[in-house]
């Protein structure tokens, strides 16, 4: 029974990683850049939701929507100001800029909201589903987290595969030059990608903070790295890959904490990542790219 409860914990943590990873992977797939500021955009989302809930007493749904709007705008503004001028630059220059943005958001948050830790209010009560005569408890929050994660994944997949914008995104991801020739406005597609990725980050933020309720300006950095790992794990650029990678990462992390050592869980997570990449060099669901001469 303990194993099952650990497994469910892992799935809940993994779902949060997966939602963050979805944002990472979308931006990577289309803009071909590692947006290291993604975790910090999420942090901003968490603070917006916190103030909406706590200081203005808004209902949960309104707060979540507000926070998603805020991060969407933030994501687009960052893209316009910091990344767009670097469209032609090397990927390393963009990477460094993203790190600069990440520092900026963290320190800006500290100045704006002070570094004293805040506690995210409980959004879904404390109830839990009791199975096997109360031996296994699954909190409603865990169920909601997993459900939201699946819903986001399904919506995104449908969006990418069925809509015109989604098709344009896939075209940009394959070949920007050809996409431009077909009359696709690559710049606006990239902006839309950032908007969606950042909006989802706010959703992840709310779920993350509902489970782990302490808020600080550095709250995004560790989940950010973990989610990035998850995205690579599943094959970066692939949406189902990010989903699978996130879930697996969460489960591995919790199980290694439970059965090996709480101190070594990070090492184990990264070791599994390395082994997977050695067997499948482009991640679990990544496309195998053949090199042209």
């Amino acid at each position: 029974m303990a194993f099952l409860s650990y497994l469910i914990n892992g799935l809940s943590l993994g779902s949060v990683y997966a939602i963050i990873a979805l944002g990472y992977t979308m931006v990577y797939g289309i803009a071909k850049m590692l947006n290291f500021a993604h975790g910090d955009i999420m942090m901003v989302g968490a603070f917006v939701a916190f103030f909406a809930l706590n200081s203005f007493g808004l209902p949960v749904i309104v707060s979540v929507v507000l926070s998603m709007l805020a991060t969407t705008v933030l994501g687009v503004v960052i893209e316009r100001l910091a990344y767009k001028p670097l469209r032609q630059a090397t990927s390393l220059s963009v990477l460094i800029t993203a790190i600069g943005v990440s520092y900026f958001l963290q320190n800006g948050a500290q100045l704006l909201w002070s570094s004293s830790t805040k506690v995210f209010p409980s959004i879904i009560g404390n109830g839990s589903l009791k199975l096997f005569g109360g031996q296994l408890q699954i909190s409603y929050l865990t169920l909601v987290t997993i459900f939201v994660c699946v819903a986001v994944m399904v919506c995104l997949t449908l969006f990418i595969n069925k809509t015109k914008t989604g098709m344009a995104m896939r075209a940009c991801s394959e070949d920007k030059g050809a996409a431009t020739l077909m009359g696709i406005n690559v710049n606006s597609i990239i902006s839309i990608t950032f908007a969606i990725g950042s909006g989802i980050a706010a959703l992840a933020a709310v779920l993350l903070c509902a489970t782990y309720p302490t808020l600080s300006p550095t709250l995004g950095s560790m989940p950010g790295i973990k989610a990035f790992t998850a995205a690579v794990f599943g094959g970066i650029g692939s949406i189902p890959g990010a989903f699978l990678g996130g879930l697996l990462l969460g489960v591995i992390e919790i199980l290694s904490k439970a059965y090996v050592s709480t101190q070594l869980s990070d090492a184990i997570v990264f070791a599994v990542l390395i082994i997977v990449l050695l067997i499948k060099p482009t991640g679990l669901l990544g496309k195998k790219l053949s090199e042209k001469v």
């Binding site: 706590n54 506690v119 408890q137 560790m222 709480t262």
Partner: protein
Amino acid sequence: MMKFEKLVKGGLAAVMALSMAACSGSGSSADTSTPAANDGAATDAAAAPAETTAAAGAFKLGLSGPLTGGASVYGQAVKNAAEIAVEEINAKGGVQFELTMEDDEHDAEKAVNAYNALKDWGMQISLLTVTSAPGAAVAQMYQDDSTFALTPSGSSLAVIYQDATNAANPYGNVFQMCFTDPNQGVASADYLSANPQLGSKVGIIYKNDDQYSIGIHDKFIAEAAEKGLEVVSDEAFMGEDNDFNVQITKAKDAGADILFLPIYYQPASTILKQANDMGYKPTVFGVDGMDGILSMEGFDTSLAEGVYLLTPFSADASDDLTKNFVSTYQSKFGETPNQFAADAYDCVYAIAQALEAAGCTSDMSNADLKDALVQQFTSMTFNGLTGTDVNWNTSGEVSKAPKAVVIENGVYVGAEG
């Protein structure tokens, strides 16, 4: 083509070298003291006769702490409280202070830089550092330069002893305002064994990359063995980790009815919530790091109901000293002070008391000040926010009585025993 680039870069290097020299004179201090003292700082290089009398005889008090980054909450608290104390003392007349705090980002390397920046500024007396690891990195330098230091919250043994493994070779010039970590571990184990009604099986969750937490944890385990307390689960976490479900589940499955948390209040608040979600309700026992949990913005204080903690300071205490300090702090910074702030406030007052008693003047050399202060600190008793009849031994360890309190209806209530 290439030459121009090289030329520019060569030039840049020269500029860098020059700027190093140029900056050496001015230093780059960040003054955080009163306006009067600020004026003094601006003109002190020129030693203008127009200096205010307040600043003329002021002691230069320096410290470093994390003002940016993950640990900045502690640095900011210390900075705020030290500022209040300096303002109050300066307003009284008598001993005058000029305070400068540098950012060390809770990093040993930056702490050394910060120490040297303070030295360039002309620091005479120091509050060392806010956190332990940076404090351990600079303590040796304070000894080499014969400067007196009293840390508000650097509680590790490595801050005051050269050989922390064996608690031997104290620096002799570095003193602590907070308890040393082992002291708290022993006190916690003693309290639990003296009050068996709280429970008999202890589960522990500690942070194993934090000197503070490890220090308390190790001594608690040793003392618990001696007192016959049964430790049934002993789990650690690291860094920014905030998923404690595994650790809590293990304590729960081991049947622990006491959960000992030698950690700070932020992770503790998460542990309380996650334990509650799990339907696990042991008696939670914390140490002084737990103080601050009730004033976290957004925290559901009902979760902390019945939590025991050993703390030298409580913001809800009803004595005048605490009341005044808390209200000044709240009106200036909009937050409730935690024990870091209280320790920092006491530090400044303790130094002022010692300086006054020894009749020190600000034109004395650092070494003379150090000798006078060490002499005072090892013989005087001090009454402050964090304790009465506080005294220090020659190693720099403080002796004050930790008070056990229990949280009832969202406030601290003195616990029996």
